[in-house]
Amino acid sequence: MLIKKGAEAELYRGRWMEREVIIKRRIAKPYRNPDLDRYIRTTRTSLEAKSLANARTLGVPTPIVYDVNLDEAEIIMSYIPGPPLKNVLPNLNDRKLKELFIEVGRLVGILHKGGIVHGDLTTSNMLLQDDRIFFIDFGLSEYTCDIEARGVDIHLMRRALESSHYLYSELAYESFILGYKEIMKEEAIDILKRVEEIRKRGRYVGRHS
């Protein structure tokens, strides 16, 4: 049963070996060169499966990967019934919002410390289930401890908050940084400095902002 048609993939809910699963299929894009299209779909599928599993071994909650079919650009993984963070946030008070984003910051810290950069940190890619935050959508992840890559990861998180949650993006981002620093310790200093540089490098960010 199709439950979501995203920009990149279709998500189906179904059963696989007696388990409730999600089948994520990256669909071919008619607007893309066919060689490029195949390359993107296969590499992202394989990368996503690998990173979902690796993130979990680091202690970051993710769906369990049951099977991968590269020909179909398909991943079969456990079903997480919780809503995306994006849908939960508007109904939260400041205290709860702060708590949640400190935890998000910690989890991103754990990923970075473990050598994984998520590559697409948005509140649509985090699911809230029984007070645990599950990370999904690792298709753009990278294996690196580069300050630059880590900085871009955090910059993207901030940008996502600013575009979709502008009413409380500052509190959310500040809390995120608290949690991130808790895990990354002194390593965080250079990374956060780079985040500011990346922001200014972007076109047309005034000196004041």
Partner: protein, 326 residues
């Protein structure tokens, strides 16, 4: 009411005259084309000061009005190249003082969006704004245009222009590059860089330039365009899915690209959204879009005193309040 708009953010000096009903009475521009290489800001600004009076005069003639019939002056204060912006701003301030009429500050990026909305009549589209200096995916929400994707480094038009120059193609490079790409047969892998909602073109450009001479130029042109447009299409599609807007508007200089139009039309079809593109004469930088956006701002009482009408070379579009939209 009649508004005169001045545009001078980069290579184009433009003067546009529009009425409050959205009628474009004149849209005259003079484009600086460097003898070789890219735009040198100082040389472009010298071009602007040389061409300003004849451009404005011609616009008034086309509009069949006298200068004193103008009710307000709109000026594109940014973002753009400092020397070019200063030239346009000086002229606009002088006109406002001379006529004793209000000066209206206009953000250049917002103007590209507003002229697209005026021309297509589409009220609330997801906007894909691509030019030599900008690559932005934006949509209106709660009083401002929010950015749902942009380039992390150079703009799409910049990437394609520089590559075209390396192939020895004369300005304007993009149409010639597209013609070459039509003859490309084999896809050459190039860095496809999408980071979250954003794209990055600088690594793609460097790699493509390095491959000149190693591969067939037609294949290389085709591959570069497919990768560059593909990246943009992907972030546009993500923004479309995320914002759930029911239409997409393509605007800015690169909006003239037939290949890019075809690609984004396909993206829209996948999401049952309507596809709109700004007309070719209003795609590139022009004064009419500044005048029209100036009018929208002016009717909400947005003006700026001469003494604080500084240029803002890095003025982001999401910093601007949009009181004329609810």
């Amino acid at each position: 009411m009649i508004i005169l708009g001045i545009e001078s953010t980069a290579h184009t000096f433009g003067c546009g005259i529009v009425t409050s009903s959205g009628k474009i009475l004149a849209n005259v521009k003079s484009e600086y084309v460097p003898p070789s290489g890219g735009i040198h800001p100082r040389e472009a600004s010298q071009h602007h000061s040389l061409k300003a009076s004849s451009t404005i005069k011609k616009a008034l003639e086309e509009a069949k009005i006298n200068l004193n019939e103008v009710d307000a002056i709109a000026i594109s204060l940014g973002p753009g190249l400092g020397p070019c912006l200063r030239t346009g701003a000086t002229i606009a301030r002088a006109l406002a003082l001379l006529l004793d009429k209000p000066l209206i500050p206009v953000n250049h990026c917002i103007a590209h969006i507003e002229i697209g909305r005026l021309i297509t009549g589409e009220e609330d589209p997801l906007v894909v704004y691509v030019s030599g200096g900008n690559t932005i995916v934006s949509a209106f929400s709660d009083g401002r245009y929010r950015i749902f994707g942009e380039t992390l480094d150079i703009a799409l038009g910049n990437c394609l222009d520089v590559f075209a120059r390396h192939l020895g193609l004369q300005h304007p490079g993009v149409p010639k590059l597209e013609a070459m790409a039509e003859k490309g047969r084999n896809f050459i892998p190039l860095p496809y860089i999408v980071k979250g909602q954003d794209v990055s073109y600088s690594g793609l450009l460097t790699t493509a330039i390095r491959k000149i001479g190693q591969f067939d130029q037609f294949d290389l042109s085709m591959s570069l365009l497919e990768v560059a447009y593909g990246m943009l299409a992907e972030v546009a599609e993500r923004a479309l899915a995320h914002t759930e807007k029911s239409s997409l508007l393509l605007t800015g200089g690169v909006a003239r690209s037939p290949r890019l139009q075809r690609i984004l039309k396909l993206v829209c079809e996948e999401h049952s959204a309507k596809f709109y593109v700004v007309s070719p004469e209003l795609a590139g930088d022009n004064g009419a879009m500044i005048a029209w956006t100036g009018y929208l701002a002016f009717k909400e009482n947005v003006t700026i005193p001469i003494e604080s009408s500084y240029i803002k070379s890095k003025w982001r579009l999401d910093e601007v309040e949009i009181p004329w939209r609810k």
